[in-house]
């Protein structure tokens, strides 16, 4: 099959986009890692230094430990939610699933503030524990705190993927095991979970990567013996240009790519979805009363825990003074008034940037998915890999890369540097979030039978028409899922934003949050802005959810039995 000219053009455009906005900026930054500090010549001595430095080795192991533990704790949160809502006739399953995704739309550094207030050494919980039992539990101390905050923030990635995988399991797989005498935990352990493994690994590897690379949370908790904070501190310290910051960035990128490769290897040949014929998802069982009480209890507890950042933030946003006490001293709405008065542009900018970025993401994501799965264009896999590699690039690195690359280029109409143009911020956000949209689009296309396209072509539709009239409409669920994920996470992205915002009037919410949080006069307005961010993204996510569902019903995809 020869590639259609349109496909070739699309592939070239995407390749150019990735090269220009991902590869070149990143290379611009990390090449410093290969320069000898003394002479500026090419060298690997910096990497030797990295491995010779005990602090960095320690930071590496700490990062690895935190990432692995976060995956485990996140699994503890995600597993019951996914299992109960997919496996049982569970009233409120949609609500549970939706609430379970909300932690993702909280900027992690804001979440850490709220968590500190609730779970810190002298936070609400510990003050109560001390009063009642005279004990103090160090939830938030050191690496524990990072693991705690990160796993709460990122567990939805596992929840989403695991739920989807559980829903895709042919129910006969489970029934045949029951028929042969398996039930309960053994059934889950031996049959259901292994079959859902690909989904779980996909989610877990995202959590691993995000945590491994995350900067905001450890910084806010003042934990600096991790790789990402070490890189950041060394890149951004006043007056110091230590190449080690860049070396660490390279190590972060390389290790993340390595981890993605391992995950891909682990999943090779395990795409069970296509081998299963019956479909229909796991059989939903009705719960016995005590099972119901138990599972609602467990789920309630988990939801309370994972939503605690939001609870804390809400209290903070309405609180007057909250100091060394279980709850704020009083409540007020002045913080909200202040935010609305001073900076309404944060909200409009965020909706604009995040939706444009998400739009770019699903467009490119759909195109890459189509090129990779349906054509034989040379290098199609590389488009996929390169786009996914964005997952491994820390936001700071991308931000600095953009400044370095696009500062010298000027806008023709205003003479301003390109890097100061708000559109560049949109592009940076879209590059950062492209992997999410790409995975969603790929999954959607994988589930689509090629026969549907062949039927259209057989009836005389050209390639472009087929894509437009058959492929895209049938992928709309996956595309929207990608859009929502990209939108929600782009709306709260900080690390790139903080480097690229060149005027306040162009700044999005995350930047505003950061600014409002930087004051000794209380973080109420910042919290109020955070709540506004959560509400905006939540509403957008809910609307898209509704659209997806309506699409499903319209196509009669609802299960009959």
């Amino acid at each position: 099959m020869n590639a259609h000219w349109g496909q070739r053009v699309a592939a070239l455009l995407i390749a150019a986009f990735l090269l220009l906005f991902l590869v070149i900026p990143v290379v611009q930054v990390i090449f410093v890692a290969f320069q000898a500090p003394a002479t500026g010549a090419f060298t690997l001595v910096n990497f030797q230094d990295f491995f010779n430095t005990s602090l960095f080795r320690e930071a590496f192991w700490n990062s690895l430990y935190v990432a692995v533990m976060s995956v485990l704790v996140a699994t503890l949160f995600a597993m019951p939610l996914a299992y109960f809502t997919t496996r049982f006739e569970f009233r409120g399953a949609i609500i549970v699933q939706t609430l379970g995704i909300i932690p993702l739309i909280m900027p992690p550094f804001v979440g850490a503030v709220a968590m500190q207030l609730l779970f810190g050494t002298n936070g609400s919980i510990n003050l109560l524990l001390e009063e009642w039992f005279g004990i103090n539990i160090p939830f938030m101390e050191g690496l524990n705190g990072v693991i705690f905050v990160e796993s709460i923030h990122y567990f939805p990635f596992i929840l989403i993927n695991l739920s989807a995988a559980l829903n895709n399991i042919d129910r006969a797989m489970e029934e045949s095991a029951q028929n042969l005498g398996a039930s309960g935990i053994r059934l889950f352990r031996r049959i259901v979970f292994p079959l859902a493994m690909p989904g779980y690994v996909a989610g877990a590897s995202i959590v691993f990567l995000k945590v491994f690379d995350d900067l905001g949370t450890p910084l806010l908790l003042n934990v600096n013996t991790l790789l990402a904070p070490q890189a950041y501190l060394r890149i951004s310290s006043i007056g110091i240009t230590d190449p080690m910051g860049y070396v660490i960035s390279v190590i972060l990128v390389l290790f993340s790519l390595f981890a993605m490769w391992i995950a891909a290897l682990a999943l090779r040949g395990k795409d069970y979805g296509t081998e299963q014929r019956g479909g229909g998802g796991l059989a939903k069982r009705r719960m016995r009363p005590w099972e119901g009480i138990l599972s609602y209890g467990v789920i309630g507890l988990i939801l309370l825990l994972v939503l605690s950042p939001h609870i804390g933030l809400t209290l903070l946003s309405f609180g007057t003074i909250w100091s060394f006490s279980v709850l704020p001293d009083g409540y007020t709405i002045t913080h909200y008034l202040e935010v609305f008065e001073q900076s309404p542009q944060f909200v409009t900018n965020t909706v604009l940037y995040a939706s444009l970025a998400a739009l770019i993401d699903v467009t490119i994501g759909t195109a890459i998915a189509y090129l990779a799965l349906r054509t034989k264009i040379i290098g199609r896999k590389w488009l996929d890999y390169t786009a996914m590699a964005a997952l491994a690039v820390p936001g700071v690195v991308l931000g600095i890369g953009y400044l370095r690359t696009f500062l010298g280029v000027h806008l023709p109409w205003s003479g301003e540097p390109l890097s100061n143009w708000w559109v560049m911020l949109v592009i940076a956000l879209s590059v950062r979030r492209l992997p999410y949209a790409l995975r969603a689009c790929t999954a959607a296309l994988q589930q689509l039978s090629v026969a549907l396209e062949e039927a259209a072509e057989n009836l005389g539709a050209g390639k472009l028409t087929t894509v437009r009239r058959i492929v895209v409409p049938l992928m709309v669920g996956g595309i929207l899922a990608g859009f929502v994920t990209s939108f929600a996470t782009a709306a709260v992205e900080l690390s790139t934003t903080i480097m690229l915002v060149s005027r306040e009037s162009d700044a999005p919410l995350a930047y505003g949050l950061y600014v409002f949080m930087q004051t000794a006069a209380g973080r109420g307005p910042g919290a109020a802005l955070g709540i506004i961010a959560v509400v905006i993204v939540g509403v957008a996510a809910y609307l898209s959810h509704r659209v997806i569902e309506r699409g499903h019903k319209a196509r009669g995809l609802a299960d009959e039995y």
């Binding site: 910096n46 600096n224 890097s419």
Partner: protein
């Protein structure tokens, strides 16, 4: 299908609307705005912005809020095509870096009535590249609810905080992260001497709960009660108090008043507006704005203090504030990066080790106090203290330009040769301090078991 598609379209249109209607004006009329890169909180910048715009209705103030370090990075990275007019921040060292890079423009303000020095520190850059508009000094703030609950007394001097009862109750930022924190560290080093200064810092740091990444982290921590005492710049303490938090603030004897600065960037696109902005900061109205409850910085114009609320510190009257140390700006500049790096290696990155060692020493001392006259115990404790106090770099070495060039930001010429790599040096220091802390802890524990 058509439903979802039209909804998608509607969402898009809606989201594009602000882009079509509300694009930021890209016009270029002369000096209708001034772009300010600043690390100051919104409480301060917002107030000055509105006050300035009230008096200059044709000029719009564009505030770019970044941390000092990322603001500095931003100005450096964008220098080739500078779009900012003003750099406005506390830390004089950030201005020194900009000045060194040739990114600042000389400017002499027209306002009169501002003295040359506040405390022992010159208000303006002697070379005229940046100008002080407010003064600030470091001190101790504490949470009154916290100390009541934990039964602690307020600490008035730095070394009070090194007492065993304050273990785990103190927070500070790192000097590499906050220019003003750097000045505090440097002040103590100059006041007490290099070796004793470091020894005291490490004793003190042994009582830290945390070293915060941002300077704002310290007042946050004290305000929320995460830790009880914070080593902070005065306006954090004063404005927290003014907002209603149950906190108090005091200047210790050894402190330095340092100016918060403003500088006009070279090739500023709006030079006239930039000058107007600087003049406003120094004007009586601008100075009075500093007294706002959410700002609370010390004006550099002594006349302004007449409008200050009762109890507001006045360094021009109360000569005890910030006068104990004759601050040597040159010395500070020469070893600037070495001090930062040293602090990070000895305290920030090895805080847990340091805390463990100091705690062990405190325990041993408590035990020894109950059972005095044990020479062996006393010797062990002294040895342990010595190990904690030891610094891998001498004062002379730290100030040696050749040595400090290892930490220099970049080579200026191709021929510049740096003797060693920073990573190498830091690894040597790290090995030194981790070994010492471990030994100190072992010795202190030995002393404790002997004293029991």
């Amino acid at each position: 299908m058509s439903n979802s598609r039209s909804l998608l379209r509607a969402v898009l249109l809606l989201s594009l609307a602000p882009a079509l209607l509300g694009l930021p004006a890209q016009g270029h009329a002369a000096d209708n705005k001034v772009v300010v890169v600043t690390s100051f909180p919104k409480d301060l910048t917002g107030k000055f912005k509105s006050e300035f715009e009230k008096r200059n209705p044709n000029v719009q103030v564009e505030i770019l809020n970044k941390s000092t370090s990322s603001g500095l990075k931003y100005v450096q990275e964008t220098a080739k095509n500078n779009t900012s007019d003003i750099f406005w921040a506390s830390a004089p060292d950030a201005f020194e870096v900009l000045k060194g890079d040739g990114l600042l423009k000389k400017y002499t303000p027209k306002v009169t009535g501002i003295p040359e020095k506040v405390g022992a520190y010159p208000i303006n850059d002697p070379d005229g590249y940046y100008i002080g508009f407010a003064a600030a000094g470091y001190g101790i703030m504490w949470n009154t609810r916290y100390i009541k609950a934990k039964n602690l007394k307020p600490a008035k001097e730095w070394m009070d905080l090194a007492k065993p009862e304050y273990h785990g109750h103190v927070g500070m930022s790192a000097p590499s992260r906050s220019g003003t924190t750097h000045l505090t560290v440097e002040t103590l080093l100059q006041g007490e001497g290099w070796d004793k200064g470091w020894a005291q810092w490490k004793e003190l740091a042994g009582n830290f709960k945390t070293v915060t990444e941002r300077s704002f982290g310290v007042p946050d921590g004290v305000n929320s009660g995460d830790f009880g005492f914070g080593i902070v710049i005065d306006f954090f303490g004063l404005s927290s108090q003014a907002t209603g938090f149950p906190v108090e603030f005091v200047y210790p004897t050894v402190t330095t008043l340092v100016p918060a600065n403003v500088g006009i960037l070279k090739n500023a696109p709006h030079p006239q507006a930039a000058e107007a902005f600087v003049e406003f900061l120094l004007s009586p109205e601008g100075q009075a704005t500093l007294l706002d409850p959410k700002i609370r910085r010390l004006p550099v114009n002594p006349a302004t203090y007449s409008k200050a609320p009762a109890g507001f510190p006045n360094p021009f009257k109360d000569k005890s504030i910030g006068a104990a140390v004759k601050f040597d700006v040159d010395l500070s500049k020469r070893r600037y990066n070495v001090v930062n790096s040293l602090f990070d290696v000895m305290v920030t990155y090895r805080l847990d080790d340091l805390k463990a060692a100091v705690r062990a020493i405190q325990d041993a001392e408590a035990a020894a106090a109950r059972k005095p006259n044990n020479a062996k115990v006393a010797a062990l404790i002294k040895e342990a203290r010595g190990l904690v106090a030891a610094t891998p770099v001498t004062e002379a070495q730290a100030a040696d330009p050749k040595f400090s060039s290892i930490f220099k930001k970049r080579r200026r010429k191709k021929t510049d040769v740096v003797p060693q790599r920073q990573a190498e040096v830091e690894e040597q220091w790290d090995a030194f301090v981790t070994k010492n802390y471990a030994q100190a802890r072992a010795k202190a524990e030995q002393a404790l078991s002997l004293a029991r």
